[in-house]
C-alpha cells in the first residue's frame, strides 16, 4: 500500500524553491486580490534584502491605498501628507546623503495634488528614488478620476467617461519629468506576468544602485490594475490594462544614465 503524502513530507528545506523575503513583515496585506501594490512591495523588499541595505534604507509612504505600506516592510518609514512625499524625501536624503531613500506614490498622490513636489524634486535632481504606481484611478477613496485616467475611461467622477475637453487630458508625468535635467534614470514597468515582474525587479535594483552615483533622481513607474476601482475581475483588469493602458503608457526605459532614449 502506498503511503499518502502529507504536507510535512513536502515542506522541507531541500524542496524550497521560493521563500518570502525576511523584509516583509507577517502582517496580512489589505490590498484587493490581484492588485499590483502587493507585488511591488515584495519586489522592493527583495531588492533591499539582496543589496543588504535594510539598515540604510528609509521609505516614505503616500496617502493612497499604499498608505499602510509601513505595516508590511521591515524598514524605517515615514508617512507623508497627501502628495508631499518628495518634499520629505528631499530633506531625508539631504540630511543623510549616505542612505537609500525612496518614496512610494500613486498617480493621484504624485501627479495631482503632489505635482509641484514631484516636478521640483526631479528638477533639483534630488538623489532619491520615486516608485510611482500608476493604476489610472484613485483606488483608496473609491475609484475617482486620476490625472492618469485615460480618455473616455469611466470613474466615479467621470461617470460618462473622461471627457478631455472638460476634464483635461491624461498627464504622462513620467515622460515629462524624464525631460528634466535632474532625472538620471526613468523607466516604466509592469508586474502582471512573471516576465514583467523580473524586469521590474531589475529596474528597482538599478534605481537603488544609481543612488550610489549621486547623479540625480531615479523614477520607476509601475503600471498596475485597480480591479476594484475599475470594477473588473483581476484577470479582466490585467487584460484591460494591456489593451488600453500599454498603448498610452508604453513599457520600457525612458531615460538611462541621464540620457533620453530616442524612441523614434
Amino acid at each position: 500500500m502506498t503511503k499518502r503524502i502529507s504536507a510535512d513530507d513536502i515542506v522541507k528545506e531541500e524542496n524550497l524553491v521560493y521563500k518570502k523575503t525576511s523584509l516583509l513583515t507577517k502582517n496580512v496585506m489589505h490590498y484587493c486580490p490581484g492588485c499590483g501594490h502587493g507585488t511591488l512591495h515584495r519586489l522592493i523588499a527583495e531588492v533591499i534584502e539582496e543589496m543588504n541595505i535594510q539598515s540604510e534604507t528609509i521609505g516614505i509612504t503616500p496617502v493612497g491605498c499604499s498608505v499602510l505600506m509601513y505595516n508590511y516592510l521591515d524598514i524605517d518609514m515615514q508617512g507623508a501628507a497627501h502628495g508631499r512625499a518628495p518634499a520629505l524625501a528631499t530633506a531625508v536624503k539631504r540630511l543623510m546623503p549616505g542612505k537609500y531613500v525612496f518614496t512610494y506614490q500613486g498617480d493621484g498622490d504624485l501627479a495631482a495634488i503632489g505635482t509641484a513636489e514631484t516636478i521640483h524634486a526631479c528638477n533639483r535632481g534630488e538623489n532619491f528614488t520615486i516608485f510611482f504606481i500608476n493604476n489610472g484611478i484613485y483606488g483608496m477613496t473609491g475609484g475617482q478620476m486620476a490625472p492618469t485616467t485615460l480618455p473616455e475611461m469611466r470613474s466615479s467622477t467621470s461617470p460618462y467617461g473622461r471627457d478631455v475637453k472638460m476634464m483635461g487630458n491624461p498627464l504622462n508625468i513620467t515622460e515629462l519629468v524624464a525631460r528634466l535635467p535632474g532625472t538620471y534614470y526613468v523607466t516604466r514597468q509592469a508586474v502582471h506576468t512573471p516576465a514583467n515582474v523580473r524586469k521590474a525587479k531589475k529596474a528597482i535594483r538599478q534605481a537603488f544602485e544609481s543612488q550610489k552615483l549621486n547623479k540625480g533622481l531615479s523614477l520607476v513607474e509601475i503600471l498596475s490594475n485597480c480591479n476594484s476601482g475599475w470594477k473588473m475581475s483581476p484577470l479582466q483588469a490585467n487584460k484591460w490594462m494591456v489593451e488600453n493602458m500599454f498603448p498610452f503608457y508604453p513599457i520600457g526605459d525612458i531615460k538611462l544614465e541621464g540620457k533620453l532614449l530616442d524612441k523614434e
Binding site: A81, T115, Q144, S156
Partner: protein, 356 residues
Amino acid sequence: MKELKLMKGNEAIAEAAIRAGADAYFGYPITPQSEILEYLMLERPHERTGMIVLQAESEVAAINMVYGGAACGRKVITSSSSPGISLKQEGISYMAGSELPCLVVNVVRGGPGLGTIQPSQSDYFQAVKGGGHGDYRLLVLAPQSVQEMADFVGLGFDLAFKYRNPVMILTDGALGQMMEKVWFDEQKPRQTVFPSWATTGKSTDRERNIITSLNLDSLKQEKHNQKIQDKYKKMKENEVRFEKIECDNAEYLFIAYGTSARICQKSVQLARERGIKAGLLRPITLFPFPEKAVLELANLVKGMLAVEMSTGQMVEDVKLAVKGKVKVEHFGRMGGVIPSPDEILIALENLIKKIS
C-alpha cells in the same frame, strides 16, 4: 413645487447647490465627502443650469479656483473633509481679507493628521476662530439633518453675499453618509446681474474693480480690519440661530450641535423617562454663537453638559457665555467614535451627582 427625495447628506448638499443656482463647484476627492463631487458629475449640472463642476488637482488649487470665481461675483462652492480643509485655510484667509463670498463645506473626520475617516467634531476651533492666519471669522452653520444639509446651502450663499464673507457649513461624516427624507426647493435661476465690486470687466461707466487682500499701508490695513470686524459684530446682532428642545422646565441642559445634537435628543427622552428634567440647546450658527440664549438658560438650570465629538472645544464658548453662573462640563468621544445616547445620559447623571 417642493420635491421629496431619500438621499445622503452629501448628495443633498450637491443637489441643493444646483438648485440654489450655484455657478461653480471646485473640489478634490476625500472621504467621507467624495459623494458631493461624484453626485455633481453624475447629474451633469452643466446641462441642467450651466453650473460648472471641476475636479481640481488639490484642495489648494480648488480653493484658489473658488477665489477666482467669487471675485467675478459668482456663487461658488467647494467641499472637503478635515485634512483638505486645513490645506484650504490659506485661501480662505485670503478670501476673508478680500471680502469675497463663498460656501465651504467641511464634512469633518477625526484627526489630527490623516486620522480616521469616521465622523468627528474636532474642527470646531478651526471653523469658528478663523482657521487660517489673520484676524477674521467665517459665518458657520451646523446642520443636524439631511434636510438642513440641503437648506443651509441656499441660506449659506445668501449670508455669504450679504456680508461678502466666506460661509462654512460644518458637518461630519455621519450626516454626510446617512440618508433621510429631504424636501427640495424649486430650481432657482442662476444670477445674471453681478455685484458692483465684481471683476466682470471694466465698463466705461465705472472705476476699475480690484480684488485683493494686500495693504502695504498699515493704517489702511487697520481700517480694513476694523471694517471687517464691524461685519462680524453685525452678524452677532442679526444672524444668531439656535433651537431649544424641552428647555421650558429643564433643570439640566445639554448643549450640542450637528450629529451630537441629534443623539442628545434621544438622551433627553431617556432622561425624562427616568424623571430627570433635561433639555437641549442646539446652536445652529456656531459663529455667531448663541451667547445670549446660553446665558438666559444659565439663570434657569442647575448644570450644563456640552456634548461634542471632540476633547472639548465648543465647551469653551459655553463657559464664556455663562459667565460662571452655572456649572458647565464637557462630555465627548474622539477619533471618530460616536457617543451613544446611553453614555451621554450617564455623563449627565454624573454631573447631577457632582452638583447635588
